[in-house]
Every structure is written in C-alpha cells, then in structure tokens.
C-alpha cells in the first residue's frame, strides 16, 4: 500500500512539473499589409497574451486590437474604425488551437522544433480555421513559439476601396513571437 501511495505521489509530482501552462503577456504580433504603392499599413502589438499547455499541446493568443501601434496616426484611426476592425465592438483578436504533432517536441530538452498547428482565428467576430507551421524553441524553462502566416481580409468581412485600389494588401502577413514561462 505504501509503495502504491508513493507511486501515485511520484506520478502526481511528475505531472505537476511537466503539465505546465506557460504564459506571457508580452507576445509580439506584427501585421504587415503594405503594398508597392503604400508602405504605411503595418503595425506591431507587443502586449498580446499567449499560453501553451506543454502536455496537451493547446495554444492560445489574445491581442487587444487597439494596442497595434502604427507610425502613422491616420492609418491607426482607419485600422480601428467601424469600416475596418471596428475595435470598439470587437476589441480582441483571438486564436485557439493545438500543436498537431506534439510528439515532435521534447519540452524537457533544449532545441528548436518545427511543428504544425491547427486552430481557429477570430477577427472582428468572424471565426476562420487557420493551419500554419510554427517553430517551438525550448531553452531551459522558457519556450519560444513563433509563426509566420497570412490571412485573407475578405474572409473576415474586411473589404473596401483601399484594398481594391492596391493600397492595402488583400492578404497581410502576420508574424507572431511569444516567449512563454
């Protein structure tokens, strides 16, 4: 009986060590919708929330739309306006997904691990499936998750003359980096 209790204790302790939810409130998301005729529609958000469960492989991001910082005030106003992201009514971008090949990552061993992810991205209240390759870098207790992908603005109901006129890219590039502890 004592051995059984000892075994359960070891299992519980091991799980508590490795079944960790790692988080950050300083994930960086870069948005680049610039084109050959306009280099202004690009911005960066450095205060996104990110979380990863190293046991289940679930990942999540949450970014405040109004904290995307543009160099140009007019561009930032358009980005948040009701015709575009409508950030007063849809204040966050949300991604919830999973690492689909979790066995490719050894969270106990330092290294760089290419992975595949699948999930749902919510922008302006519209949900779209998103599958993208990503990189997991394990270094000691920290995990750095990074991914580059693009989205189609029309998929999220974002349309308008600047897009049709080539001033804003139809498929902006998104870069995500999160150091999770």
């Amino acid at each position: 009986m004592k051995k059984f209790i000892l075994f359960l204790s070891v299992v519980a302790i091991t799980n508590s060590i490795f079944a960790q939810k790692k988080t950050t409130t300083s994930a960086t998301i870069k948005f680049d919708a610039s084109t050959s005729i306009d280099n202004l529609p690009k911005a960066e958000n450095k205060t996104a929330i990110a979380a990863i469960n190293t046991t289940t492989g679930s990942i999540a991001f949450e970014a405040t739309v109004k904290n995307f910082s543009f160099s140009n005030p007019s561009m930032q106003n358009h980005f948040n306006g009701s015709g575009w992201l409508d950030s007063d009514n849809h204040p966050t971008f949300i991604y919830k997904g999973n690492i689909t090949d979790l066995t490719a990552v050894d969270f106990t061993k330092d290294g760089v691990y290419p992975v595949k992810t699948e999930g749902v991205l919510t922008v302006k209240g519209v949900e779209q499936k998103l599958s993208t390759p990503a990189t997991i870098t394990v270094k000691g207790n920290s995990v750095v998750a990074a991914a580059d992908f693009s989205i189609k603005l029309a998929d999220f109901g974002i349309t308008g003359a600047p897009i049709d006129g080539g001033k804003v890219a139809k498929e902006p590039k998104i870069s995500v980096t999160a150091e999770l502890k």
Binding site: T23, T24, T25, S26, A27, T28, L40, N45, K46, T47, I49, A50, A51, A60, E62, T64, V65, K66, N67, S69, S71, N72, P73, S74, S87, P91, T92, I94, T177, E179
Partner: protein
Amino acid sequence: MTERVKKKRPWLKRILIAILVIIVILAGVYWYVATEKFSDTKDRKADYTVSAIDFIHEFEKDQKAANEKYKDKIITVNGTVSEIEAADTTMNIKMMDTVSKSIIIFAFQEQHLSEPKTVKVGDPVSIKGSFSAGIFSDILEIVKIDFKRSTLNKK
C-alpha cells in the same frame, strides 16, 4: 472672332489656375497625412494622472465605462513595477494588483525602448503612455489594461 477669343481667355485661365491650386492643395494634404508621425509622448500633456491600483479597480468595476472615459487619452500612471517582461527584442513594464492579479502593461515608444532597463521590480515609477483598452482576458481570467508608446517620467 478675335475679340470673342480674347473675352473667353481670362475665364479659361482662371479655371486652369483653380484646378492647379486644387491639385496642389490635395497633394499637400496627402503629403501631410502620409508623412504624419505620432509625437513623442514625453512632450505630450497627460489628460489624466492615476494610481495603478485605483485605475485597475475602475476597470474591474465597470470595464465599458472606463474604456469610454479613457479612450485615446494620454495617461500618467503611478505605481510599482511588478515585472519587466521580454517582448521580442524589447521589454515591457507591468504593474499588478496583487489581490486580483489584474495588470497594466506598458509597451514603450521607439525612442524610449531602453527605459525599462533603468528600473527593477519593486521600484515606484511614473509612466506616461497612450491608453489602448482594458479587456477581460479569457486566457488568464484577469483584467489586462494596455498602453502603447509609453515613456518613463523622470524619477
């Protein structure tokens, strides 16, 4: 016939000048808008000065009203550094309500990116920034209030 042309010419000239003036004005407006930059937050006057804990409580009490009150405002927040967190190649400063765990997080303006390195956890600080929004995070289950283009006020 020659007299008629002479009479019409002044009007044609005026129309051409007016079109030219409109084109120059539009080009000027476009140039101004396209090259406009956000001014240095350090040079801007704060619309509000608040204590970090009171500010957090305001959002915990009524998020919608607080977001409306502080929308697009420059705010000075006085509080204690609870964490200095890496954000890619830069650093953010956080202030936390240790009871509710809700936070204020400051991303710094490009010309002030080195300022978070001059403080440490536990330091009382005064930070001025451009308020973005306060949200309830479903991931962390706390209130998180974001600032961009922040700068440290002199100690």
